[in-house]
Amino acid sequence: MRLLTHNMLASNIKGVTSGYPLRIEAHQSAAKEADFNADFLRNVFPKIDWPALVSAAKTLGYGDLPEEAEPSMLESDEFLRRFHHALLEVHVEEGALVCPETGRRFPVNKGIPNMLLHEDEV
């Protein structure tokens, strides 16, 4: 699971009002090289919840993102590289995403988050 995915997901348990951002519990993480595409990064930047990305990246040991970001930074190659790395190259292989409100753990196995709810959560 890349941090782009983490940035998009929330706990959708019935009745939960603040199911985002999910806390990352990483038992095994990895950095894997991904193709760099500046157009994609510029397209996706406005949709990203920046504080959640910064904090998720920190959880996984990557602290090179600025605390705040604005569109003008997309001109900088250096910034794009860092954004690219945090968004697409840092992976959680094994672990869980934890609902901040209920503590419910959504397992991540083999890099796949399992967001399916139990019967009593729908």
């Binding site: 998009m8 967001m115 399916l116």
Partner: protein, 470 residues
């Protein structure tokens, strides 16, 4: 300028739509005007015309495109175009053809006839095989064209095509040809069909029972305008066959499925969704996750992130859809069930059947929220074929404009339509409410129709039992 567009004689209903989608992709269409509701209308310089006496199902069409460059790009990216040609002449007899070609402006012809260039003439016929000897004679008959270049059969700079239609009416289901037509033109571009054997399913490592065949997957990716820098989502990803096609065109991909065995495990470390991308050297999906399309796990406020959603929803014909929640629970037969804490870790939640109407509502709602403005929703929709009526009722949504519907007949009584919708309106609270109402309307009609005999029974009950009723 008008070009001759010759199609492969297959998936007839998909051919023009593919060209129109690619015209949009390569900028032959511009979104400029606003309609009364403030939505954008796409105006397109593309136009169609049929040669005289030709039926719409004919492989020969005339298409107006803004430039040769656009025409070449469209043809090269397409799956169903045999070739787009600059037409130098067409006629009903060879004598008339000679006159037409001679009259075609010199300045359009000369650049392609110079002594420095290489060329080849290909003789082709629709509906009839022309013997090698006849081909040679036809080529000799073109001696009125002053070719000065060198003949190169392997790798010519310019390819000229002499094509004719013959009386094919008896063999292939098309209306009889009233009069023979002969076309002569210079090839501008043609589909790269070689990618189909490369991606054919029988060489794919990991397959499921409903994997999308390569040709259709590429057509879907074209309808979805897949290209580098775009993010494409498939909420029913299965073994990833649709996303493989999108990734081939350079798009970033993302897939979800309710079946964890399919998305996570596959059949082992080298036989799973990821390996299907590795096999072709494609960029791996940005994300695969297990999620229920009925209860999507997207964070509140997340919207307009996907450039296209392309999928084959599980509408219960080959594989039934499932959603969260036990069947008995949703019907109220059993009371709410609480999973004991000690069993939570390995608990397998029960799922209930997911009806077509509900699935459509969720898909349209998801797409309305998550697609960028101008983004595309491309999906299959099943239709029971009724005698005489061809206009199927498609699900609608105020955010979407239907731009293409292509029928693929699967059996005597059942077909599927590939629908392409463009998001033309933003998703607002009002729209969400309107969509809900529309959906209820659709669901009622759908339920009525279900009472008459649902899709499943229409497909699987013996034909005579239906005949007896009608």
């Amino acid at each position: 300028m008008w070009y001759l567009c010759v199609f492969y004689h297959r998936l007839l209903d998909y051919r023009r739509s593919e060209v129109e989608a690619l015209a949009e992709l390569f900028g032959a269409c511009k979104q400029v005007e606003q309609d009364e509701d403030g939505g954008k209308i796409s105006t397109c310089s593309l136009q169609w015309k049929l040669p005289e006496n030709h039926h719409a199902d004919s492989p020969f069409h005339f298409v107006f495109l803004p430039s040769e460059e656009t025409a070449r790009k469209i043809a090269n990216r397409s799956i169903l175009i045999k070739g787009i040609y600059e037409l130098w002449g067409h006629a009903t007899t060879y004598e008339e053809l000679e006159k037409a070609v001679i009259e075609y402006p010199e300045e359009r012809k000369v650049p392609y006839l110079t002594s420095e260039s290489s060329f080849r003439i290909i003789v082709d016929s629709f509906g009839k095989v022309i013997s090698f000897q006849e081909q040679t004679e036809r080529i000799k008959g073109l001696s009125y064209i002053p070719f000065k270049g060198r003949v190169d059969l392997r790798n010519p700079e310019h390819k000229f095509w002499l094509m004719e239609t013959d009386d094919y009416g008896s063999n292939n289901g098309l209306p009889p040809v009233v009069q023979k037509t002969i076309f002569f033109g210079r090839e501008v571009g043609a589909a790269d069909r070689k990618l189909l054997p490369t991606y054919q399913l029988k060489s794919r490592n990991y397959l499921g029972p409903t994997a999308m065949d390569a040709e259709m997957a590429f057509l879907m990716a074209n309808q979805g305008l897949a290209q580098p820098g775009k993010l494409i989502f498939d909420p029913f990803v299965g073994t990833g066959s649709i996303l493989v096609a999108a990734a081939h065109f350079g798009a970033m991909t993302m897939g979800a499925d309710i079946d964890i065995r399919v998305v996570r495990d596959g059949k082992g470390p080298d036989c799973n969704v990821w390996s299907n991308f590795k096999q072709y050297g494609l960029q791996l999906p940005v994300s695969l996750l297990r999620a229920d399309n009925n209860l999507p796990p997207w964070r509140p406020g997340l919207k307009e992130i996907f450039d296209a959603i392309i999928c084959d929803p599980p509408y219960g014909v080959r594989a039934g859809g499932r959603k969260s929640g036990g069947r008995k629970l949703l019907k109220g037969v059993v009371g709410p069930y609480t999973v004991p804490d000690e069993k939570r870790f390995d608990h397998i939640p029960s799922t209930a059947p997911y009806s077509l109407a509900e699935c459509m509502h969720d898909l349209l709602d998801l797409a309305a929220k998550m697609l960028v403005l101008g983004g595309r929703l491309v999906f299959f929709y099943p239709v029971v074929r009724e005698e005489g009526s061809t206009d199927a009722q498609y699900p609608e949504h105020p955010c979407f404009t239907l731009v293409a519907s292509c029928e693929q007949i699967l059996s005597f009584r059942y077909s599927r339509h590939l629908l392409t919708m463009v998001k033309t309106g933003s998703y607002t609270d009002e729209i969400a409410e309107l969509a809900r109402k529309k959906h209820v309307e659709f669901k009622e009609n759908h339920l009525k129709w279900l009472e008459d005999g649902n899709l499943h029974s229409a497909v699987f009950t013996p034909a005579d039992s239906l005949c007896g009723q009608s």
